[in-house]
Amino acid sequence: MVALVIVLALFFDFTNGFHDTANAMATPIATGALKPKAAVAIAATLNLVGAFLSTEVARTISGGLIREGDGGIQITPVMIFAGLIGATLWNMVTWFLGLPSSSSHALFGGLIGAAIVGAGFGSVDFSVLLSKVVFPALLAPLTAGLVAYIAVKIAYAVTKKRQRNGFKHGQVFTSSLVSLAHGTNDAQKTMGVITLTLIAGGFQATGSGPEFWVIAVCALAIALGTYTGGWRIIRTMGKGLTEIEPGQGFAAEASTAATILASSHLGFALSTTQVSSGSVIGTGIGRKGASVRWRTAGRIALGWLITIPAAAAVGALAALVALSGTVGVVVDTIVAVGVIVGIFVYARRNRVDARNVHDEPTVLVRPKRSRKQQKQDEKALRQNGGTK
């Protein structure tokens, strides 16, 4: 069981990596500041380095969302297993749809679902859910958007048009900073899950930190995921929300980096994914002549809204099956692997990779549309002064 949880946790870490490449690298890829392959290589390296730099893992898996420990419930490896299934499957679905959604929220959602089934509604602290997850999720894109709006106004007021290509060089640094910040945050989640599972399984002393091999494999899994690149999400963020010029990209990344750093150091944690989407939209509003595609933005927001309930539903279902015994765990594993492979195979039908990442994301966010509708959309887009 413990081995199974570790494998699943690492796969979750991998999906986390390729889900979040877009946060740092969508804008430099979109403006041509970095070649797609080079961008994901830099992001992967910095995520790897970042994971080793910061190994302070949380003492609770859910950060207080679930009443764990003394006087609360005991989170068993089976529940963690079910929660991870919920989180991983939801990450796969959103990746397929090209939606940048928060991997932490998916993990929380999966665990909440599993905990409700495993230990009842009382096990979830809904006030913490509201104050630590729901409100920050509303504030993150607004804050980042406002800051990015100001930043892009400054950038375009100070520079003349012919000078703005120079922002491309700056983008390399700001996006790297976002990547590094991401690496120091996100691999820790999986390290925490694995370490707490090992403790729960009696393989490690209570209260001890992560073993070196845990740190190493988590770092590798997230770096590998990042290098694989969530091209679908990169395309949504880089091309789907608004057209990004170098000056905008620089302003967006500077805002993203500033927001993440400030929020994680001043005790008001915000989600990286939501911050960077907000920044991109903010620069789209701020630059004259840029238009924001609110339909795409709305779809992304909807994705955020249902991330926790959806992951919770899958987690709950998985827990229901898994708690019935060994057979249930085997059934869960087979179904989960089947769905994951299915999504990968289905995704090959409209592949998005380093070569076509610059195409318009018309097929991407809405995979099932008729040819006619697609033409209409493209026409509407052109009329909006949308593309080149």
Partner: protein, 71 residues
């Protein structure tokens, strides 16, 4: 329930930091540019100073990211 004062501090810090980075970098770009109508001699060094200052802000960001430095 929600810590508004903490949020406000974060908001102000973010605006200040992002504006500083963008202003410095933009000024640098503008001052270093030589394709325009004959820049004064002081412009280029000042532009480079802007880039350096911007780099320092970013380095401070790296410092904040790595917990090893401030424990």
């Amino acid at each position: 329930m929600i810590d508004w004062s903490a949020f406000f501090v974060v908001l102000v810090a973010t605006v200040v930091a992002a504006s500083a980075v963008v202003t410095l970098y933009s000024l640098g770009l503008r001052l270093v540019d030589r394709s325009g109508d004959r820049p004064a001699a002081w412009q280029r060094p000042l532009g480079i100073a802007c880039f350096v200052a911007c780099g320092l802000v970013v380095l401070y960001g790296v410092y904040l990211v790595i917990p090893y430095f401030h424990r």
